[in-house]
Symmetry: C2
Subunit: 282 residues, 2 copies
């Protein structure tokens, strides 16, 4: 992690230097990969869409039988204090809740809550104007509705994605598309209808915002999306907190539409940037 | 973890007190649940079937694109030193290899190797003579051939297993049985044929030993096993390093055979204990 700027983190009920934030090896994240997390961004010291991210964080914890050790008001005041101490202009804040220190290496203990804030890198102008290439892989995330720390498949595929000259991997099962390891997927059809998968996905906060924005200008569907639908589509893009909206210009080596970022995609990105701007100027 | 006996562990190229073994929160096990492990037992200071466990450990690492930072001879000498320093009569030794300290919370860094030795609890006499009850759950482990640290589903089901008065959960997909979270599954048919699943499983070292022992006395098949096969079976049992052979007397509330530990199962357990005895007296 980048330590050139002295950063603070939260762990074991205190704010401490990030470089001093350690967990004992009996933690269930290390022993059994067991935990959940969430991630939001800040702009000029203000969290964006914080309530949505906190709701999802508590929901993921509940789905995994973990109790967040802080009530929401204390979590928010800790977030506020961390943001003040770190003084980053634009940042990403990650909250991780692990299965805690386990007596026997299998049964959860009282969960450990970790909060880490780091400088945020948004997509480059080049990525937005040229779009990105992706590959596909047959896989459905376990407990897709929960934002668990399990990225066994996604991390393992990093080398394969690179080797194929791509930047990410789109999951599908029997041709039914779900999501990227860390992003949601959208298609724009020939008639400008915007469609995004709804089953076996993590419901992204950016996905939700984009659906709202898109609904004001276009017909919007949360529906089954297949690999065949991609072949017929005019445009495709991914959404995530750090990526906002990124045009997808090729899937498995086949161009999407005319192989260039599409007008609808770029319009939605403008609308999203404007929405984010309104959030922090409130 | 039990700290009443002062125990030593291995981490960051040194042997240190277990209570001082900590990983920075940037480790990819904490960030993304990414890592592999293996686990063997010792008796009177001697590891049992060590070569088999080490081979599987290196194979799991390779499947996940992780490099074990020690060559096998140095790993063995570290194991030997840990065993000497801890002085435990019977122990379980866990070797965990994580995705390492990650620069960006997603891409692996140089892997962290952790070795933890703790006192071993074998099944009680009661568990062996009364057998255990299990439930079933539809699930296939990701990358089943690798011993990853991903136990998202198994750990999440702990409460459900308990609530149903069972002790473990047997995974199946569309009725085709695979394995328990931490054990393999065997059936004994009416004609004394012994059968165990072969696909979508982690190939246990105890499973291998039991197959060899069983082959000397019975017909043995590594084949597809279904839930329907369980209903027709005479006996069932699970195998693992810590459990050896445990009779299964009920699945989802239905008795297996006559609902008592079977003669073939108990004979195989005797044979396995004898095999283990020969190992450490070599």
């Amino acid at each position: 992690m980048s330590l050139n700027h002295k950063l603070y983190a939260y762990l074991h009920e205190e704010i401490l230097p990030l470089e001093s934030a350690y967990l004992h090896v009996s933690d269930l994240s290390i022993q059994r990969g067991y935990g959940i997390f969430d991630f939001f961004k800040t702009h000029n010291g203000q969290p964006l869409f914080l309530e949505d991210y906190l709701n999802r964080f508590y929901a993921s914890a509940s789905l995994m039988g973990l109790e967040v050790p802080l009530p929401e008001d204390e979590l928010v005041s800790t977030i506020t204090r961390l943001i003040q101490m770190n003084g980053l202009a634009d940042s990403g804040m990650k909250m991780i809740l692990t299965g805690g220190y386990s007596e026997n290496g299998y049964n959860p203990g009282p969960p450990n809550l970790i909060m880490i804030e780091q400088p945020l890198t948004l997509p480059s102008e080049v990525q937005v104007t040229t779009g990105i290439k992706v590959i596909t892989h047959e896989y459905v995330r376990e407990l897709a509705a929960a934002k668990t720390i399990n990225y066994t498949v996604g991390v393992r595929l990093i080398q394969q994605v690179k080797a194929k000259g791509a930047e990410d991997v789109l999951y599908h099962q029997n041709g039914v598309v779900s999501e990227f390891p860390r992003s949601n997927f959208f298609l724009v059809k020939e008639d400008n209808t915007i469609i995004t998968p709804v089953h076996e996905i993590l419901k992204g906060i950016t996905r939700k915002n984009v659906l709202e924005l898109a609904g004001k200008k276009y017909r919007v569907e949360e529906e089954t999306v297949t690999l065949e639908d991609i072949a017929q589509a005019k445009e495709a893009f991914m959404t995530s907190t750090t990526k906002r909206i990124l045009p997808i210009v090729a899937v498995d080596g086949n161009p999407v539409g005319n192989g260039k970022p599409g007008a609808v995609t770029l319009q939605l990105l403008k609308d999203l940037v404007a929405l984010e701007g309104r959030q922090v100027s409130l």
